[in-house]
Amino acid sequence: MNPAMNSAVTSTMNAGMAPIATPWFFYALAGLAVASGVAVITRRNAVHAALALIVTLLSVAGLYLMLYAPFVAGVQIIVYAGGIMVLFLFVIMLVNIERSSKERQFNRMWPVGLAAACALMALFVSAFTKGRTLFPDRMISLPESSNTQQIAGMLYGEAGRMGQYTFAFEIASLLLLVAILGAVIMTKKKI
């Protein structure tokens, strides 16, 4: 980043952070995301877990908006909450939930799994308490109005040149094609 641009960015940076919403908004969204995340992994009925996951995804989309990422928030709502979750709900309808909701919900090794997850949480806590000073307190404001345009420039290229991620974008489309073929072939009864 050149110095002129840097000073321009600094002048748009304001003292606190919260230009869009108050910190309370962040705490509400984060609490909602974590609470419905707990509901995802504890509900007996898979449909309820899916609905709780939709709430988590929507509140994470709200957090993206607080981070000046409107395009990623839109992708989150359209692709995740709109596409992937519909896929999940269809599969839940196809496999019978009646029987599986009456069965034991946790596998036999659940104490080991829980202990491993607690160890991971302890790792996070120690890393975050030790490395707290690594993260600067002030965050840089990104231009929100041209966010989608800049992401498009990086993905598709701009001014006749290939973008930085154009090749990766094409590879991603190939990955999606392979995933579609795999899903169709695996769900066919006879190939």
């Binding site: 952070m17 996951l53 992708v75 989150q76 946790f106 600067p136 392979v178 995933a179």
Partner: protein, 102 residues
């Protein structure tokens, strides 16, 4: 009131990640295991977007979009495998999926 910094977002993302790991390691229902994987990927996305904000460039957001593409591909293939398996064995419990064991 403390202003919200990158660190706050990292804590939320770590909480979601740990919840997803607990779901993957303890639940029996494969559909819920796949949903927990989605939770994990969302935690990673939140980290990427928070770091993008911290450094003031958009590479993290582009990367988050690629992670979303991966999540869609993974969900499609995983649920396809699940349907094929359910057709053969009439079960969706992880500990009863042992066709490759002998």
């Amino acid at each position: 009131m403390v202003p919200i910094t990158t660190f706050h977002y990292l804590v939320v993302a770590a909480a979601l990640f740990v919840l997803g790991v607990i779901g993957v390691l303890t639940r029996r229902n494969v559909v819920i295991v796949l949903m927990s994987i989605e939770l994990i990927l969302n935690a990673v996305n939140l980290n990427l977007v928070a770091f993008s904000r911290m450094w003031g460039n958009l590479h993290g957001q582009v990367f988050a979009i690629f992670v979303t593409v991966d999540a869609a591909a993974e969900a499609a293939v995983g649920l396809g495998i699940l349907i094929a398996f359910f057709r053969n064995k009439e079960t969706i419990n992880v500990d009863e999926i042992d066709l490759l064991k002998w």
